[in-house]
Amino acid sequence: MPLYVEDKKINRLHWPLILSVAAVAGLGVWNLASAGRGEPGALWLAQLKALLLGATLAAGSLFIDYRLFRKAAWPLYLGALLMLVLVHFHGESSHGAQRWLALGPIHLQPSEFAKLAVILLLARHFADNPPQERTVRKGGVFASVSGSLERRWAAFVAKRRKRLAAAPRKMTAGRTRRQKGYRLPDLVVPLVYLLVPVVLVVKQPDLGTGLVTVAIGGSLVLFAGLTSGTLATLLTGGAGATLAVWRMARIVLKTPAAAAASSFSRALANAKAAPRLTPGQKLAFRLIKPYQAQRVVSFLHPQRYAQGAAYHVTQSLIAVGSGGLWGKGWGNGTQVQLSFLPEQVTDFAFPVWAEEHGFVGAAIVVVLYLVLVLIALDIASQARDRFGAFLAFGAAALFFWHAFINIAMVTGVLPVVGVPLLLMSYGGSSAVLTLLAIGALLNVSLRRVGQ
């Protein structure tokens, strides 16, 4: 296997990227050393080891031209699916979900792995199948929607008043242009690639990782480009789906069985026992678990659930807010050190940082993540080829969604879903795979246009 390193000069590496990653990772370890004081063992050390392993693997991967990754997309994707199926049967449980797979001494989280595999496969797919040029109406999204309405209205009016029958054709004639973009039928295959692992992940259940994977896939689709009509359809569908989820969450919470049924199967058993459940209720129970429904609803009414589902958010808000401008100092956060803040080494690592280092520290971390995303987007736009661009964009989306959802969740902007903050939350699989994604970014940048 030939190595395609065109220029071995070390200064061709994207040093700003490396430095900002090192900065975030360093702050993350420093933060874990404070947050993990109540836990047995030195978490920060374990995290540091995982980061070093990831960095080593990433550095090694630089010697392989990223264009070779294209070949590995399918094997990796299938491997990820296999692991996801395995974890369903042989996984280790924690917090009521089967997420970990033990491979000898290594405990792997296949869902993390699946995220990267999906990015790789979608990048390959969009690279190999560029969109076709098509004739579309002029005027972008608004015109496509309004144009369609206009036509229907005109047809309706025409039926009533025959003399206006010719008018609609006149209105749209000559207002078309050639547009490049994917349309709905083109999206079926990528959607299947995306949804198969997502369904398996959500089944674990790990709603957070599933959502992030969907968000990344959606971002890749937007990046790939859609025709304006397709975009409008998808936006409408997305809004509809959000409403449906909200509605179902309300149904699940309002159904009496929800109080007694703490698990999926029991909810179904109850549904059988209670013939009064309507088909709508049964469907809602099938799709949403009571605890998930409660999170959605409690997000909008935190006071009502202060000691229940919204306890996490309430304590997180207190932690973040009580940090003030400068914070309480490392190791001095009362929310953290007295364990009022739940899950403080994993999903709620950011509030730890915000409490102990204040607005100044929190803003620095947010800006660092923004810098990471912007650098990744820059690398994507300078990529040598479509595959590289999609690969880099996938990494950018990965960072963006993790950082945005996590910080928005811990500051009460979004409901609580278990999404870790990359490089700050404790997690070996996540650390290694994140650094591999950084490796891929460096790889694309190393072999960018004009080099």
């Binding site: 490049k180 000691q307 807010g321 009580s322 990529a383 479509r386 950018a396 950082a403």
Partner: protein, 682 residues
């Protein structure tokens, strides 16, 4: 390798989209920054306060309640260290096993155990760290047992909480005697109700105890101190942090000390109270004794018998035990000395006598003749002595308790002068002792009978003259009236508290004798009545002559009040139902020549005053002077010694024998009983 590394074309068109995405990402992160600014800088102070509320737990430091002491400083109500048992659901596992173990160790009832288990099962979330009360007030022994078994009692805590102890002794069994005799004076406490919590304006908290009866209630404000508080820093599981962390997290105001309540010092003498209680309880089933200092109106003893155990009533009593108390026909929850009104019988004759003298209807030397009955209209009012008393003047009338003499007085003056004098002597309205509700008694007037019975005739006056008919008084009213006669005409309002002291022993408030009224009865009239009262006890033929004391001159009056109307045929005393038998009275003061104390004794349904009540009163009087002698010799009686005091058996015995069903030894029971009158005439 075919085309593997061929750059596929057109990455350029992706470039503008990456730029759009960059703008979107920057916008999204700007939202996050704005949110952080909002939380940390705008709401930072408020959220920091919430954070402080998270880890600062406020513990109340209960203020020690003031003590209640007798006149010699003996403890009547005080606080004792005791422990309440709590379990914390989170740590108490398995709950059933541990509670079963608790039940065998400290004797939980099945009811208490299942209630605790239900509460544990209901606790969710952070509530699982809230301790649940399982058993209130376990004793020292039970505490030792629990401490010895603590290793097997996960999540069980014994929290020290001061509880009230009534009576001076730590030994519960020996103390019970004191607790009971004091119950109607000192009262008891119980948990505040929801309504009181609301009205208390934050002074009380859930689970606080509040005075329910007696002094505990009347002096609640003085006895209750001001609770302090202690701030402690805790972690999310409610565990207290180490002292260094405490200091760091709560730099100031960790402790606001409690202010103890004031002590209430009584005029009551525990020794005399004990003697009175023992004498009365040996002589009857129910009754009251009141002993008062004639020169101040300060009560030296106040016994209402029977009584409950206030130590049980304060928190520990079970529903069944309380039901039994409420349903007890002898009504132990009832403070007889002030709340029960009785016909005073012949003890009321001094009022009739004073009324007649004051109105100038007779002179002390005026006489009438008693043939055993008094004819008014077409009816005859019987004297208790069928054979008659012959020629009777005031002194003889009182000495022999001759009913005819007083019928004669009443027939001369009618009802209203008697009522007028009774009211001057404090009858017919509460004395104002301040120990809770009091019975007012009834002083009938002509108007009263016209209102209640819709007619009046002189017969009512005749009945009232001998303390029957509608006349009703309390033991406390009677003793205050006799004290006023004894001290030369000053009617005091009775007091039982002599002073209030702050926790350091400084007097915060002195209670001065309170004069209810100056009677303004000529000394000659009082002397005439006093002469009669002296003769009752000290001259042969007096109704109380046989039980006089050998070394104290006592003046007093017996009374035997009939409680049911007499039918055609009257049963013998021991054939009648207990509740139909006569009430026995004795009211006296001593020494007769220079009075110090006045005593009234009512022994319910125990028969004639001379047998049923006089021995009790005499024992109390004898006890008063004995105790005084001891005190003068410098002997301070300890509570244990007081517990062992026995009233002089010489005075209690005749009555005791009566109770056991045998015939009285002294003074023959007057034979045939009146059959046609509507009053008891002895």
């Amino acid at each position: 390798m075919d085309g593997l590394l061929q750059p596929n074309k057109e990455p350029r068109e992706l470039k503008p989209r990456a730029a759009v995405m960059a703008v979107v990402a920057a916008g999204a992160f700007l939202v996050l920054l704005a949110r952080l600014y909002d939380l940390q800088l705008i709401h930072g102070v408020e959220l920091a306060r919430k954070g402080r509320d998270n880890y600062v737990k406020t513990l109340v430091v209960p203020a020690p309640r003031g003590m209640i002491l007798d006149r010699h400083g003996l403890l009547l109500a005080s606080n004792r260290a005791s422990f309440d048992v709590y379990v914390t659901p989170q740590f108490c596992q398995p709950a059933r096993g541990i509670l079963d173990k608790l039940a065998t160790l400290i004797g939980l009832t099945a009811e208490e155990e299942s209630a605790a288990l239900a509460k544990i099962a209901r606790a969710r979330g952070l509530d699982r760290y809230q301790p649940i009360l399982v058993k209130l007030d376990i004793g020292r022994d039970a505490l030792d047992v629990l401490l010895a078994n603590q290793a097997e009692l996960d999540g069980v805590d014994m929290i020290p909480s001061p509880h009230r102890r009534y009576g001076p002794l730590a030994d519960e069994e020996k103390n019970e005697l004191f607790a009971r005799m004091l119950a109607h004076v000192v009262g008891y406490m119980s948990e505040v109700t929801a309504g009181e919590l609301k009205r208390g304006h934050g002074k009380y908290r859930q689970g606080d105890f509040i005075g329910r009866r007696g002094l505990e209630k009347s002096f609640e404000k003085e006895l209750r101190g001001v609770d302090g508080k202690r701030l402690v820093a805790v972690d999310a599981k409610g565990r207290e942090l180490d002292p260094a962390a405490q200091k760091e997290l709560i730099p100031r105001g960790r402790l606001v000390p409690a202010k103890a309540g004031h002590n209430v010092v009584l005029s009551l003498d525990l020794g005399l109270e004990t003697l009175a209680w023992k004498a009365l309880s040996a002589a009857g089933k129910a009754g009251a004794v009141a002993v008062v200092d004639v020169h101040t109106g300060a009560l030296l003893a106040l016994v209402s018998y029977p009584a409950y155990d206030p130590n049980e009533m304060t928190g520990r009593i079970s529903r069944q035990e309380l039901q039994a108390l409420v349903k007890d026909p002898l009504q132990p929850l009832f403070a007889r000395a002030l709340q029960q009104q009785y016909h005073p019988g012949s003890t009321f004759k001094v009022v009739t006598a004073l009324a007649a003298l004051a109105g100038g209807y007779v002179k002390p030397t005026s006489t009438t003749v008693c043939h055993g009955g008094f004819r008014l209209g077409n009816r005859t009012w019987r004297c208790w002595k069928k054979t008659g008393h012959g020629v009777v003047d005031l002194t003889r009338g009182i000495q022999h308790s001759c009913d005819v003499y007083f019928y004669w007085l009443a027939s001369k003056m009618g009802l209203d002068p008697i009522a007028d004098m009774a009211e001057r002597l404090g009858f017919g309205r509460p004395t104002g002792l301040g120990l809770g509700p009091e019975a007012a008694g009834v002083v009938p007037t002509v108007a009263y009978h016209e209102r209640v019975d819709h007619w009046y005739s002189k017969g009512f006056a005749l009945n009232a003259a001998i303390g029957q008919g509608a006349v009703n008084v309390t033991a406390l009213q009677l003793v205050m009236a006799y004290a006023a006669i004894a001290n030369g005409g000053t009617l005091y309002r009775p007091t039982i508290v002599s002073r209030i002291e702050d926790p350091d022993g400084k007097v915060a408030k002195e209670v001065r004798p309170r004069v209810a009224r100056r009677l303004r009865i000529p000394a000659a009239d009082l002397d005439a009545v006093k002469k009669g009262l002296f003769a009752v006890v000290n001259e042969p033929g007096g109704t109380a002559y046989y039980r006089r004391l050998s070394d104290v001159l006592v003046a007093g009056k017996t009374g035997t009040a009939q409680v049911v109307q007499i039918g055609k045929k009257r049963l013998k005393e021991d054939q009648m139902p207990w509740k139909d038998r006569d009430d026995g009275w004795f009211v006296a003061y001593a020494p007769a020549d220079a009075p110090e104390i006045a005593v009234s004794v009512i022994n319910e349904h125990a028969g004639e005053g001379a047998y049923a009540a006089e021995p009790v009163a005499m024992a109390v009087i004898q006890g008063y002077f004995d105790l005084k002698k001891e005190r003068a010799a410098g002997v301070e009686l300890s509570p244990e010694e007081i517990a062992n005091l026995v009233p002089d058996p010489q005075y209690a015995s005749p009555s005791l024998r009566r109770l056991s069903g045998r015939a009285p030894v002294a003074a023959a029971n007057p034979g045939g009983l009146p059959s046609s009158t509507d009053a008891a005439l002895r």
